[in-house]
Each structure stands twice: as C-alpha cells, then as structure tokens.
C-alpha cells in the first residue's frame, strides 16, 4: 500500500496528466491505470461511480451546450442559434472525461485514506513553505476538512432541492426574478444547514482538545521505495503526454 503523502502527490500529478491530455491515447492510458488501481486496491466501485452518477445530468448538459454552441464553423446544420459541430462535441466529451477521471482518481485517495491522515500528508508535503512563515497545520486542516465537506454538502443540496420541489418551487422558472427566487430558496437553507454542521464539528474538535498550532504527529518515512517508483512512473507518464506529441 502507498503512503498518504505518495497518494496525494500522485493525485496532483494525475490531475496534471488529465489536464494536459487532449487526445484519445493519453486518456486511454489514464483509464487503464485507473482500472489497474481500482482492481489492485479492491476499491468499492459502486461508491466511486455514485459520485459520477450524481453529476450525470451536468455532464449531459455540458456535452449538449458544447455541441450546439461551441462554434459556428463547419456546423452540421443551423437552426436559430443552434449550430452543432463535431469540434463542440469533442470539446464537451474532453471536459466530461477529464471531470470523471479527476473524480475517480480523487475517490481512490478518499477511499483509502482517513481525513486526519490526509491532513497530515498535506502538512508534510507543504512543509518547505513553513520557512515562508505560512501556517501549514491550519492550511492542511482546512484542505482536508473542505474535501470531506463536499460529499456532505452535495447530499444536503439533493435533500433541499427535493424538499423545495415538494413545496412547489421549480428550478426551471423563466425570467431573472423567478430564477433568483428559486436559487435563493436553495442557497439560504443550504448555508444555514452547512453552518449548523460546522458549528457541531468545531465543538467536537474543541471538546477533543484539537490544537491548530500543535503538530498533528510524526512519521519517520514519508516515502517508501514503492512510493518513489510509483511517483516516478507518473512523472514519466506526464513526460510522455507533454513530449510525445499528444499535447498540442
């Protein structure tokens, strides 16, 4: 098993690879590595894909918007403001693939590492910044807490949307006023519920004696030989993507 530091660093490097990829070969390579990692680490695939499933409407919307509005050149046909193009479709597919890959890679880190361990890893990786007088412990805690808040808030949004729909609020209203009202009906309960959660969490942290100025813990070795080899492999992958002609 890789160390949390190696997992976090490799996730960042994977994101760089994903962002640099623009053609089918690097994407295929990244998908292959993803399959190997999920298979080797025996991860919960259903849980990983549930986050992708939750965003499926958004992905379809992104593909449709890109296909119909991305460009006016070489359009298949023209109907009012709709100008579907192959270039737009490709762009939509690239954005969607990138987002899905980042979600699935982040799921590997989240499923195999506890929040506290992730905070510690982030702190270790940012350690050199301590010499610039930056509060590394606090930053690492903020980073890991915000990652764990994302799923909680996503579930909360779904719950609030369902509750507001039951009360008769529709999110497809026309006109600025209608849309603003609909969006405020989502925003206000979301913020109130989120701050309730933050209040409970800070109370729990205080009562357990968490000190933001104290170091979280010490580890003798951040990286094993296996970790170094894995990171070297991803760096190599980035090199292939950048210099292998796949990056335009």
């Amino acid at each position: 098993m890789f160390s949390a530091e190696a997992k976090l660093l490799s996730f960042i490097l994977f994101v760089v690879s994903i962002v640099l990829s623009k053609t089918i070969v690097p994407f295929a390579l990244l998908i292959l590595i993803l399959i190997i990692l999920y298979w080797d680490l025996h991860l919960d695939k259903a849980k990983a894909f549930s986050s992708v499933k939750r965003l499926s409407t958004f992905f379809i919307l992104i593909i449709l918007i890109n296909t119909f509005f991305f460009s006016k050149e070489k359009a298949w046909f023209e109907f009012y403001c709709f100008t579907p193009t192959l270039l737009g479709l490709k762009n939509g597919l690239i954005i969607t693939t990138r987002t899905i890959l980042i979600l699935l890679y982040s799921e590997i880190v989240m499923q195999t590492t506890s929040t506290l361990r992730l905070a510690l890893a982030f702190e270790h990786l940012l350690y050199p910044l301590k010499y610039l007088f930056l509060p590394i412990q606090k930053l690492s805690m903020i980073f890991s807490l915000s990652l764990s808040f994302i799923n909680v808030l996503n579930e909360e949004i779904v719950r609030i949307k369902q509750a507001q729909t039951l009360r008769g609020i529709t999110y497809e209203k026309k006109g600025i006023r209608g849309r603003v009202e609909a969006l405020l009906s989502l925003t206000v309960p979301l913020f109130l519920s989120a701050f309730h959660k933050a209040d409970e969490l800070s109370f729990a942290l205080e009562s357990r004696g968490y000190d933001p100025k104290k170091k979280l813990g010490k580890l003798e070795h951040f990286f094993s030989r296996k970790d170094v080899l894995f990171i070297f492999f991803i760096l190599l992958l980035n090199g292939v993507i950048i210099y292998g002609g796949y990056y335009v």
Binding site: F143, S144, L145, S146, V180, L184, T187, L190, L192, A198
Partner: protein, 178 residues
Amino acid sequence: MEAIMSEIKKIVITALSVALCIVLPMAFHAVPKAGILYLPMHLPVLLGGLIVGPLYGIVIGLLGPLLSSLLTGMPPSAILPTMMIELALYGLFTGLFIKVINTKWEAVNLYSALVLAMVAGRIGAGIAKALFFTSGQSYSIAAWATGYFVTGIAGIIIQLIAVPFLYYALSKAKLITK
C-alpha cells in the same frame, strides 16, 4: 461582552466556505448559464470573509476556485488566475472593511463593507487582468465594466440580498459571532 470566535471554529468555517465554493456552482449550473450570470462562487467568499476575517478570507478566495477547477473543471484554467485574485481580494476586503467601518448602524457597516469589497475586488481583478492575463491584447475600461458589472448584474443583486440576510440569519441562530 461579545464572544470571540475560536481559532478552531474559524478553521472549520473556512473549510466549509471552500467546500461551498465547489458545491454551490455545481448546484447553480443546473440552470443554464447560471455560473456566469449569478456568480455562485462569490457568495461563500464574501460571507466567509465577513465571518472569519481577512486572512482566512484570502485562503477561501484562493483555495475555493483552485479546488473547484481541479475537481470539477470550473472555472476553466484560462480564467482561474484572475478569478483567484478577484475572490482573494473579496475575502481580504470584506474581512478588513467589516473591522474598519464602525458606525452606529450595523446594516450600514455590513453593506458598506460588502459594496466596497465588491468594488475593490473587481478593480484589483481588472488591474491584474490588464497587466498579466490579456496576452498582449488591449483591455479597455468598457470591457472591464461589461465583464465585471453588466454580465453579472443578477449575481451582484443576489449577493447584495443574500449575503447580509445570511449573515443576520447565522448570527441570530448563534452559529457565528460578530
């Protein structure tokens, strides 16, 4: 005497605001063009800056768009640097102005801090864009005003209604200390 917010609570609220910067635009994007028109990412930064102060406000403004771009692809990497500067300035100035402006009327303090921060953030982002991110193309004041004030007018209205409302609602529920 008013209670002072603990450092732990500030950290948790900062993390929560960063997470809201990621989640809120995803919810808003169900409505077509909502990201550009309603500026959902600005809400947690402005509110966060008011609640946790200027330094944590900068952290929210920098980490929010960065993590959102990495995890969801929004904002696109082309506009990410200017957006990070703009939001960091919002976080900084809301936190600063709410501490500096001290009139008898709380609503005046809140609205002045909010409006001044919104203007200062937009000016800062405009200057940064003109100096570093226009890649040799000219960038006029008209383009700046259109981009930052006209296009997002609905977003500005939402911010002016929602941020003070949320701030009062949260203080009334004793979830934050002023």
